[in-house]
Amino acid sequence: MYKKKPAQKIISISHNEDKSLIFLIAGFLLFGIIVIFNSTTVQSLKIYGDASRFFLYHIAWTVVGLVGFFITYKFDILRF
């Protein structure tokens, strides 16, 4: 069985937080927004008569997603 590491092993390694994961996620989200804006205008105009409908919807969900990201990033949900 996978054994838990002893508490004394939990030591400070570095105070410089590695932001590479955050930057990587931000890059994907930005690229996603560009791709969605670019690829949905025609369909959006055809279905809703508004070229930016899908794009705005995607932006709204990205904001909601970032709130979700912030919650799981900042709070230790495993303790709840």
């Binding site: 092993k9 990587l24 690829s39 969900w61 799981t72």
Partner: protein, 296 residues
């Protein structure tokens, strides 16, 4: 959540049937008032299931057990329960994804692997039976195996062909941003199920290679976090989230390139799909949290 898993005949207004599938739960279906810009607010419970399963298995599999096969029953309970509910929607690709995420977490937990050797043939047989007894799935599988034959009816593999046309027409450097032809209605569900094909069409082989390299970095980072995590619980969560991203990427790319039967799985963080984006970001938030706490 359970309501959205009801079969079409028993669907309720909050989880109505669309395209013979019951995959969405709506908070404000008609006659309830619509939200400006968004309209109806809904999400796919199967996306929430990925996050829930990851946390559930991480907590359960990191415990100490007195009996040897106890972790296996927890794995089977979690992965089996969610997979069974999702396959009832029906949504086979997500069901398989959820089951594999659970299996990878079980394997990395260090529990005994013996029961898996018995479970896998049974699961494969059940999956085969499920495909062969569902007409549209059987047709999709047949289309996949016949896709190289010139006598094939074009309607049967329209989506795969359009995705391949998009990727092929992109060439080495692509047509350029905004120059896609497929977005003019040739490819259905272009922003969710065929995102990779569109990226290939506009940015070419070079763009697609850069994108896959970035995903590779993300997966590598996830596995590094799993290795460095201070507890087995956190390590398993990191494995779960990383395999979730990796599996979705694998299914989306292989589906768009015609290597597996065409299926509607989103490209993580890029495709259009609200609930997919929300729960993927929540999962990545957990990963970033583990990364932060393990370096403090």
């Amino acid at each position: 959540m359970i309501a959205s898993f009801l079969p079409c005949e028993n669907a309720i207004i909050f989880a109505r049937c669309e395209n013979a599938a019951n995959r969405w739960f709506y908070f404000n279906p008609p006659p309830f008032p619509q939200i400006p810009i968004i309209g109806e607010l809904g999400f796919q419970p199967s996306e929430l299931a990925k996050l829930t399963l990851t946390i559930f298995l991480a907590v359960q599999l990191s415990r100490s057990f007195k009996k040897k096969y106890q972790p296996f029953w927890y794995y089977l309970l979690g992965a089996g329960f969610f997979s069974a509910l999702i396959i009832l929607q029906p949504n086979m690709s997500t069901s398989v994804t959820v089951f594999i995420i659970g299996t990878l977490m079980y394997i990395t937990s260090g529990a005994t692997l013996k029961p898996l050797f018995l479970l896998f043939p049974i699961m494969l047989f059940m999956a085969f039976l499920f495909i062969m007894t569902t007409p549209y799935r059987r047709e999709r599988l047949m289309t996949f195996f016949k896709s190289n034959q010139t006598t094939l009816n074009q309607e049967e593999d329209y989506q795969i062909k359009q995705a391949k046309i998009a990727l092929g027409s992109g060439g080495f450097f692509g047509k350029g941003l905004g120059q896609s032809r497929q977005k003019y209605g040739y490819t259905p569900e272009i922003a969710s199920d065929a995102t990779f094909a569109i990226v290939g069409e506009e940015f070419g082989f070079v763009g697609v290679s850069v994108l896959l390299f970035c995903y590779g970095l993300l997966i590598f980072k996830g596995l590094t976090i799993a290795k460095r995590a201070v507890s087995s619980e956190e390590s398993l969560i990191a494995v779960g989230v990383t395999s979730w991203i990796g599996l979705q990427l694998l299914i989306h790319v292989t589906s768009n390139t015609g290597m597996i039967p065409y299926t509607g799985v989103t490209l993580p963080l890029i495709s259009y799909g609200g609930s997919s984006l929300l729960f993927t970001l929540m999962g990545l938030g957990l990963l970033a949290n583990i990364d932060r706490t393990s370096t403090e």
